[in-house]
Structure formats: C-alpha cells, structure tokens
Symmetry: D2
C-alpha cells in the first residue's frame, strides 16, 4: 500500500538498481579503495566546485555523527533546533559518538534556527564547567519541510564566525532543497560556508547511502579513523558508490526530487480547499504539515497512511516521495470529500 508516512517507505529508483548491477563485475578493492568510490569523490568535487573530502556512511544518524565526531572535541556542545533529527530521533548516538552535549534551541515559527538563538548560547567561553559551544547544525530542508534561504544560512555562518563555531548541515533531504530553491550545491553549501554536511540520498530513492562531505578542508583530517571507529566503514564500498552513481550521474536526482516537491504542492492545494484543515507550515520541499479534525485522522490514514506529528494538536505530516503519484493525492482528497459528504 502506498503511503505518505515517510519518504523512507518508498522504494529505490530503477537507475540505482541498474548501477548496482553495473558495478557487480568481478573483484574490487574493499573499504573504499575501489575505482567507483574514487569516481563518486570526483562527482562531489564537481558538485561543490571545489576539492572536498567525501566519506560514505550507512544511514543518516551514522553520517551526521561521523561528520560531527570527526571535527569536535568531547568537552564541547552542539547547537541544534529542538526538532532536529539529532535531538529527537537519534537516540543517544550523538552522545556516544561525539561525547558532546546536545543543546536544543527554540526556532522561528518555521522550524529554523536563528542567529539570535545561537548567540544567546555563546556564553562562558573558556569556562571549563560549561560545555563549550563549538558547532551549529541545521537541517536543509528542515524537519518541517521548510527551507533556509541563502541569506539565512549566511547569517548563521556569520554568527558562527563571530563565536568560532563550525557549521554542520544535515542534508537528509538536500536534493529536495536544491531543486526547490533552484540552487547549485556551490551556491547553497560551498559559498555560504558550510564546513561539513550529511549529503543524504537514501530518502531520495536509494537503498541506503549517505555521504559526509567536508567542504572546509581544514577540518576532518582524521575522519577516516572516526568512520571506522563509528562502524560506518563499508567493506564493499563500491555498492554504496553505485547508489550515488545511479542517483547523481546525469542529474538523475533532479527530476525525482522535483516530482516529490511538486506532489507536495499538489497535496497542499488539495488540502487547502477544506476549511477544516489548516496547513501549518509553508510547503517548500516535499512535506506538508496540517492540522485536521481529530475524527478525520484514523479514517484518512486508512485511505493512505500518514504520520501523526503532534498528537496534542492533531498535527499530521504527509511526506511525498519520488514515487508519490497524482492518484495517491487524489485518493486522499477525494476520500476527504466522500467522508464529508458522509
């Protein structure tokens, strides 16, 4: 059954399966010393329009924490939003792998971190009693499906510069963000001064493939050791490389990501027509957040599953994927109409 519960429920795009078959060809050196992994490294150099260090990780949690653990000291703190995946969906893996304190901050009304919130935490510098703020992590697109503008990222970079903080970006849905803003990776990530990021393509339509990209070449020199220590080093790395090749070469990702975003717009429009439903967040990528009547939720989930984000206020999340169809959306919208008609 199709679902709007999560982009993790969707399968894998055909180009990725083909790429897996294509690399399944005799022997290759293991642990990333293969030619395909090298090719993906070059692919990322091209994407960021500079030489970057790229390492693979198995999943989003692994990628976020490889990036952060390899650039931080264990007496420091990481500033994030209170809704960040790192704060509410990675168990205590952040503590395990970085040793750091996680400091969740209030956001603006669209789930985005503000320079002011960061600045407020940058106190007691050099005081050994206080876990020292050392990194900011933002999620693009955010957990609310919203987007930081280039100016907003730059403003956060500025406050990072002011207080000597590193800027990390959780790009679990970076492809949706790039197409939504019609930006190049260079414009959004290199030029704004992101130091290290998770470049995730799992949700976009692969089996499981994340890259940690060190855009700032002054950090992460020992990242390979952390990749192994954190148990994120694949023996047969070529099959992770293949997923990147299948998704990223020839800009295959672009149409898939555009499509998911388009479906979210269609969904927004479809839901907007009902007075009983309030769209709670700007729909800027592939997610729609909405409040609906309590007694609508169960019946509608039976038509097509979706996720209850906040039970208290009946807020639900509907997430579009590369394989969400106009029929899926119509199914829901027509279902609402029928239900109302009763």
């Amino acid at each position: 059954m199709k679902s709007l519960a999560s982009d993790n429920y969707a399968g894998v795009i055909p180009e990725v399966l083909s790429a897996l078959s294509a690399v399944n060809n005799g022997h290759e050196s293991s642990y990333g010393a293969d030619s395909y992994t090298t090719r993906v490294g070059e692919l990322f150099n091209n994407l960021f329009e500079k030489e970057v260090r790229t390492l693979f990780a198995f999943n989003g949690t692994g990628a976020n924490l490889l990036g952060l653990s390899s650039v931080l000291q264990p007496y420091q703190s990481i500033l994030c939003t209170h809704i960040a995946h790192l704060n509410v969906d990675e168990s205590t893996a952040p503590e395990l792998m970085t040793g750091c304190r996680i400091r969740p901050l209030e956001t603006d009304i669209h789930g985005k971190l503000t320079p002011e919130a960061i600045r407020d935490q940058c106190i007691r510098k050099g005081d050994v009693h206080f876990a020292q703020p050392a990194a900011v992590t933002i999620t693009q697109s955010t957990e609310y499906g919203t987007l930081y503008t280039l100016d907003e990222i730059s403003a956060i970079r500025e406050v990072c510069n002011e207080f000597g903080l590193l800027l990390h970006l959780d790009g679990a849905r970076i492809l949706n963000a790039l197409v939504a803003m019609d930006c190049s990776a260079r414009e959004m990530l290199t030029a704004t001064g992101v130091d290290v990021m998770t470049f995730g393509i799992t949700k976009a339509g692969t089996i499981g493939a994340e890259a940690v990209v060190y855009i700032n070449d002054k950090v992460g020199e020992s990242a390979g050791f952390f990749q192994k220590r954190n148990a994120q080093l694949a023996s047969k790395a070529r099959y992770i490389a293949a997923q990147f090749m299948g998704m990223m070469e020839h800009d295959v990702w672009r149409n898939y990501a555009l499509h998911a975003n388009d479906m979210a717009q269609k969904l927004r429009v479809g839901l907007h027509q009902f007075d009983e439903i309030t769209i709670t967040m700007p729909v800027e990528a592939n997610a729609v957040f909405a409040i609906m009547p309590t007694d609508w939720i169960k019946p509608l989930q039976n038509i097509i599953p979706f996720y209850i984000w906040n039970e208290k206020r009946n807020e639900v999340r509907l997430m579009c994927s590369w394989d969400t169809t106009a029929s899926d959306i119509n199914l829901l919208v027509e279902g609402i109409k029928k239900m109302k008609a009763g």
Copy 2:
C-alpha cells in the same frame, strides 16, 4: 582483476541482486517493521530450530558490537584471541560501543581460544579494580581459516558456565564453517550454547548484510535500543532482509560456500607441491595461509593479488570466494612453475 586478497573483494551473487529487485515493490514500513524483515526473522528461527531474536547490522564490526554492547556492562571485559578481528581490525569501536576492556589471549597453534587461557583470566571476581571478565568471543571459522570442533565449542561453553561468562561468536564466515563441518546451525550454535552471535553474509556474496542473533533468549532484551544508539538501524530494512532472502532461502548459500572451501583445498594442493612453500595452518574453510620465499611474493601478487599476513615471517593469506575459479588457482600455480623455471 580477480584476487585472493579477501573475500570482501568479490562481488554479489545473482540471487541477491534478484532479491533486491523483488522487494523493490511499492511502499514498506521502515526501520524493520516490514514484512520482509519479519520473514527473515522466521528464517532464522528455522535455522536455529528455536525462537531467536534477530537484528540486522550494516557490517561485521557493527554486528559484533551490537551483540556485545547489548549484553554487557561497561565495567566488564571481553576475552578474545590476540588475532581476533575485534582485537586488531575494529579500531576502538569495541571500546566506544561496549565501554569494556578487550583482553586478547594467546591461542593454540591454530588460532583457537582454549579453555585454559580463558580460565587463567577469570581472576579477581568482584574486585572493582579489575575489569570483570564477562564474555568470551570466538570466531568461526577463525581468522586463520581454521575451525572449532563442536567439542571445542562445548568445552569453551563449560568454562563459560563455570565463571558466569557469556559466549559470543563472530560468524563473519559462518557459512563456510557450516558447510565445512557439515553441521546444522542448531548443532553448531544452538546446541553448543552460543548466547549471541554475528551471522555474517557479506563476505559470502552480498552487498552488506549481517545479523545479530540472540540464541539465548535471556539476553539482549533491549537490543533494539542499542541497534539505534550504535547507528546500525537501517531505515529501509527490507533491502537488508532481501539480501538474507537471496542468500539463505532455498539454501542458496550452501553451494557457494562449498565452492569457496573447495577452491581453498585446490589451492592448498596446488601450493603444497612446492618445497619452498609451507602451508602454515590446516585448510579447513576458505583460507590458505602459507610461508613462501620473500622474493616470490611481489611477482606472484602481480599474477593474482593476495594479502601479506605477517611480513616478518613472509606469511601470506590467500582467501577464496564464491567466485574464485579453478582457473584463478591454476593461474597462480602455473605462475609459480613458470617463475621457478625462470
């Protein structure tokens, strides 16, 4: 180029690629709540002939440490051989994920742990200053390609019982062991009293798929939390499940593992004919260890790559895979002849 360097260099068996395609069919719940993961759980129940708890991990290091971290306390120690993967090939991931002391012990001449070596370490019980021995881990087949007999495992189990230790088994090459000993999993693992194990199929011919199997139902109740905390929980678990389905269903693994072992025997025979070469370990699974003249190593590696295990004594490891062919072996053997003919 084909290689005898590692079974990690080999690709993926066709049945696994087919299984990936087969499950790539619409939406599935994520994080292991899908029907394929359930099916693999049943597959393991059948294999071990009892209800076992089965969790997936991304790689061998991740699987070993999920198993151990979920059954140990951080003030304890883990007894292993000095050549154990855990001791020499997992960086400090064991310390990170378990908190425990790793205690490498001397082995018998075939790389196997002995009850005596374990007993010698079981001192100072209750002494808070001394990291308390709490688990033994053995590798089957061993890092030297040798096998513990059922009696040897049982003898280790007995000393574990005597001192209240858990028995963990690193089965990175468990399939090679099972066919080599013509044993069922029940006979080798359930009946001998292994508590928790890594059941690895990556080296056997998949992309990357390991299972942590809790055979003892009294341990690992909270394992799911450790799987997430250790960043070993896949979002799209069905694609790990598919690899197990492709490898394990219809006993597909059996012929592949037998073949790899057969090739190792062929290799042993081929090398044995040269007086200059000493086979250093009994060839019991898919590995051949041999000492050869220093000036032979480089030229022979150019014919077909293999791994220098111990540089000091010119000991090399030649590892056969599911796709090693008789021609690969012949290539090497004929190469030696040609070289000698010079």
Copy 3:
C-alpha cells in the same frame, strides 16, 4: 578576603580538621574497607532510618554521575531543570559517565521542576529513536536557593511512578535544606521516595566529601564498579569518612547550616531596604538573588565579592556560608548606604 561569591570559597569547620587528625592513627585498609567508612555507612542508615547503600565521591559532579551512571542505561535520558548544575556546570561529564541524553526542562518561576514539565517529556515510550526518559533529577535546595516542599517532591515522585522514572536528588546543599524546612532526612528523602541522591557536605564546610546514597535498595547493586570506573574511589577512604564524621556526628552540621541560612535572611533584609534592589527569588536556604543597578555591581564587589548570575539583567547571587558573619553583611549594607550617600 571574605566573599559572598560561593560557599566553595569558605574553609573547613574545625570539627572536620579534628576528625582528620583523629583518624590519622596507624594503618587502615584502603578503598573503603576501613572501620571509619563502615561507621559512616551506619551514620547514614540512622539518618535515613533505613538500611541504605552509601558510597563516597570526591566532588559534586562525581557524586551526581556515580549515582546516575549506576542506575541508568545508556540509551535513556535524564530530565532536569535548565538551570541544573548537571545541565550547565558539569561540562560533558554527564554524557561521559552515563551515556545518556540530558533533557533540560523549563521550571516554575522559582527554579523548580514541575510534574507537568516532566509529563510533557514522557512520550514515545519504547520508540528506539527517542532517548527514553528514565530519571528525573532535582536539586534541593535549588540552584536559585529555593526549596521543594515535601508535597512538591511527592508530586514529582507520583509522576515518576506513572512513567517508570527514577528520582535522583542533587543534595549539594542538602544540609541547608534540611534545617530550613526543619525536616528529618527520613521525612524529606526516604518518605518522599527519592531513589538515589548526592549527599554533599563539601560546600557546608569540609575539604571535599560527597556521598552517593541509594535509598531504594533495588537500584545501584553494581555501584561499586561504577565508582571505580568513574575514578571516584579513594584509596585512603578513611579521610573522606572522617569529614563525614566531623560534620555529621553530634549533629554538628545543624548549627553551621542554620547559621548560613540565617545570614541569608539577614542579607535579604539588609538589601530589601533599598528601592534600587529587587530580591528575585524567595530566600529559603543560604542564597540571595537580586537585581541591582549596573553601576553598583563593580563597586560593591570591591567591598565583598559576589557572583554575577545573569549579566543581561544585572542579577547577582550572594551566597552565605558557615563562616559568613553579621559583619560581612553589614559591610555590604553599609557600603551601599555610603555609595548612595556618594
């Protein structure tokens, strides 16, 4: 120079120095196997009016984290106030020693945790992605010098029962709390259902001596192993025992703690007479929090040092100790008068 900056600035009461001399008498077994440590164990049994497990720690951070690390699992979270010592003054030691997530919560206006704030966090039970709430820690007297009533502690205990949480109490200033509320330890701690606590006497007038008291005998069975692992086990434990003997026997502590509290009241009264000064917190133990004109702070600190708690709003903390004198208070109050007279 005398100071109101912190009770850590004060010295040691004479009874403690005498006790150190008294135990300095020949040989004693080390690591807590001495007769003085046993005696202090009995002293705590008497104090709590039940058999409790008592272990020493070197400092407050060490004691808090010995208590918490020995009763929690590393995939859990600890709920505390955002002003808790654990949250803002223990670096990342909590993460190091417990592995857990620290979840700071908003407080009532007097720095106290509320059942509602706790209840709000008790979500997603059993969800492996979410660090599982497992303990609440409260500070008595609080970091704001206020006190939880017995009813307030009981109400927190009730919500802990509802959600299966342990109740930890940071008693860095527990002696001030006990005399202020004219309670027995049984009434405040045993009867209200505190599971484990830090019983601190360092700030009250010793060199450095904290006890971790496990009131709930069902938790902390392996605490001794954590005490050693956390490097909190003293070799010459008798000298920590002696500090407890000097402070606790014959209720020596009572007059000292009463005196410190009395001085805080005197200070409150002294400051209250100035319209320019606002006392910001109820003065219930030995601390006075006040907002004063910006340009008063430096000159007054030159008369007698005190601590700037919140620079933004000119809030200062004045902390009374066992050796604070009426003259110290007068010095400050007269200083203000003189300054105003200008």
Copy 4:
C-alpha cells in the same frame, strides 16, 4: 594494626595535616584559582626546572587518565606493560576517559617495558582498522618495585620518537624512585623526554593528592576541560595544594621516601636469610617481592598483613611506607624464626 600490605594503608605525615590547617584561613577562590594552587604550580616549575602545566587530580586512576585523555585521540592505542596499574587495576576507566585501546605488552624479567616490545606494536600506521599506537606509559618505580634507569627511559624515548609516540609516566611512587636513584626530577623526567606524567604523593603520606604534569608544553593545552569532564576538578583546590605544600616544600618528602626505601632493604636482608624464601625482584624502591612456602603465608600475615601477589606461585608483596618501622620488620623476621623453631 601495622601492615605491609600497601602504602595506601599508611596514614598522613604530620606536615601535611599542618599544611591543611595553615591554609584553612578565610576565603579562597575555588576550582584552582587560589594562591596556594598557584604556589604549587611554581613548586613544580622549580622541580622540573622548566615551566610546566600542572593540574590536580583526586587519585591515581584519575591522574593517569586526565593525563592520557587530554593528549590522545579516541582511535588510538596506549602501550603499557601487562602488569601496569592502568591494565589491571583501573577497571575500564581508561576506556571510559580516553576511548583508546589498552595494549598490554610483555616486559623484561623485572616488569619493565622494552623498546623492542614497543617497536613490535608499531605496525599498520595509517590503517584505520587498527587502533593506532600513540602513547607509551611506564611506571616509575614499577609495580614490581623496580626502577627504570635513565638510560632505559631514554631508550624508550628514542623508540617513541621513531614512531611518533608520546611518553607518559605513572609516578604513583615517583618520590621513592627519585631518592632511590638520587636523581633530580629534571634528570629523570625533563631530560629524558617524558611528555606528561602522574606525580603522585598519596601513597607517600598524604590524604589524596596527585598532580598531572605536562612537561612537554606542546601537549595538553585543553587539559583543563578534560579535568572537569573527567570529574577530577576539586572545588576547594587549596586543600589539595596544601598537601603538596606539606609534602614537597623544604624537601620534606625526601626523608620519608628514603626511610620507606631503607625499610624495604632491611626487609630484604631479613628475609634473605631464610632458605625457604626467594626474593623474586631486585629491591630498588619500597617493595619486596618474595616466594615463600604456602603454609607460611597465613601465619605470617597474622603477624603483620601483606599482599598475595600471585597465588599460583606463592608470591607475596611486602610494601614499606613512610611509617614502617624497624620493629615492624623485626616482628616479621622474628616471627619467621619462631615459626620455624615452632
């Protein structure tokens, strides 16, 4: 009852108690910002004849691990002897605080690490799978009461230089070593190239006071953060400073340490006269190791307690302290005579 079981059983020298009283004089800044802590810093500068960074720790385990955690990365390994305190008497505190692998090595017959043993471990540089050797720790005097000569330390330093390792020294009994070898700290520690050490005075006759001394000014810049994170930062640091002042000023330590060493010699001579007793280690500091008939041990321990080092071979350790007397020794020796006559 007097004991030869451990120098931890002995009390505190009177000069230390006096120093505690002397500093117990009004208010002092906390956490090491007091004048006494500063004075001890200078004392160490003088002792090492260069500017060193000195931080306090509460006990030997805490000091060793503050030193090591502040100079290492968590993917590295620490080389030590198999009898090192770090290896057998600090639980898993080393793993907790450093994250590193502990690699115990075989020693020469006197419990000392050799350059050869270190060199053998310095393999696989840059290989992310192998915990990277990064520090050597030696104990002076050793756990066997023997001493590294200056040449032996220098030879270890050389192999450290060859492989880029840091040299750490556990000086739990450094005072006994210094007087035994009639060396200055500069000669033994600065000039030989020790990078960081534990300078312990607890066993020598204080309550509990250890210093971590960073002789190499290029390491440990962030040590203060690790001191707090490891819960080794004392609030009332002046009382740790006082112990150093009481022990170290006016070279008070020298006569006490000489005396303990002298008693060990007297004990060695006393035991040597019995054919049934074999002194197993050169007596170079304050410990005597001996093998004696099984049925002698219990009765002699009743005369004066001592420690069974190795039950299997009836090896015992007799440890002399600052307060061991000639009568204590005579009591034992005469006891043996009487028993034999018996």
